[in-house]
């Protein structure tokens, strides 16, 4: 363990913007991507359901 205190850890020996800038953007990208994928999956499933409802000749009120 090379850190004397929490403050020392967050300072990163003066390289805080570079180190935390790297890890923060990576964490952000890797949290947003799964959310986007989930939204895309939900959209596709909803689209499919709408298409199925339409194919069975049921109006929009059935989907509500």
């Amino acid at each position: 363990m090379s850190w004397g205190s929490a403050a020392e850890f967050f300072t990163m020996g003066g390289y805080a913007p570079f180190v935390w800038g790297s890890f923060a953007v990576a964490a952000l990208c890797m949290s947003i991507e799964p959310l986007l994928v989930r939204a895309r999956h939900r959209r596709a499933a909803a689209e499919l359901k709408r298409a199925g409802v339409a194919a069975r000749g049921v109006g929009h009120e059935a989907a509500a």
Partner: protein
């Protein structure tokens, strides 16, 4: 061949692959989370300060995995695209499309974290050296692949056009990999190679490899999840997909 052998080709149909992928996603996601926790712990709390670069070197724990995955995903994407072109199998094209956004994200992260590492270490965010430029080209190849596929309405034709682009672009991967050997680059040579021992402390190397595995598991999880969305999008006229959507209602 034993009688219990599995017919793997069965899983090459979107209909059978869809539920299989759905079962695999949580396992790979959990593995990614656990490995990332271990890797970050090693990277920030176990690995010592680098005597030359100080704490800035810790960026490699995200930079190296992102860079490796950006290249590796491209190879896998091109392989799926090639299989799709050769065998005309539907799922192959979907796999290639599912991998592209994740690969593009890792190429971006490689450039971003590389810039943030370069500033304190080299004194510049960017330099037009062979390694950096070829990685930028890789990022553009991913974007080009996605843009080309998005521009073509018929998914089967989009797969074919994308496959040609992906396969031509493969030539860039060895250029990235060997750039530090072939040219006199500002980017340092490989710290890890197949033929020699790594030129870094064992604990730093361990942390890096654990992070590579975490990113690998993440990539598998997110691309399997995305291929499921793509399957639903493309198979919307298939009876099985509509039955699935009806059942989920």
């Amino acid at each position: 061949m034993t009688e219990r052998s599995i017919n793997w080709f069965r899983f090459s149909s979107p209909q059978t692959f869809y539920p299989l992928a759905g079962k695999m996603v949580p396992w790979f996601a959990a593995a990614a989370a656990i490995l990332a926790a271990i890797g970050l712990y090693i990277g920030f709390f176990v690995a010592p300060t680098d005597f030359q670069q100080g704490e800035a070197y810790r960026i490699i724990f995200v930079h190296v995995p992102a860079s490796w995955m950006s290249m590796f995903i491209y190879l896998v994407m091109a392989a799926w695209a090639g299989v799709g072109l050769a065998l005309n199998s539907r799922l192959s094209g979907m796999m290639a499309s599912a991998l592209a956004p994740t690969g593009a994200m890792f190429a971006f992260l490689s450039l971003w974290t590389g810039a943030l590492w370069g500033k304190p270490t080299w004194g510049t965010y960017w330099v037009w050296d062979a390694r950096l430029t070829s990685e930028l080209i890789l990022f553009f190849l991913y974007l080009g692949f996605m843009a080309l596929q998005a521009a073509i309405d018929d998914p089967r034709r989009a797969d074919k056009a994308g496959a040609v682009l992906a396969l031509v672009g493969v030539v860039n991967i060895p250029i990235i990999y060997f750039s530090v050997k072939w040219w006199n680059t500002l980017h340092q040579g490989a710290s890890v190679s197949l033929t020699t021992a790594p030129t870094m402390a064992t604990i730093m190397f361990t942390g890096m490899i654990v992070m590579v595995l975490a990113f690998w598991m993440y990539s598998i999880a997110v691309s399997l999840a995305r291929v499921r969305a793509i399957i639903l999008e493309r198979e919307r006229h298939a009876a099985w997909a509509q039955a699935l959507a009806g059942a989920a209602a």
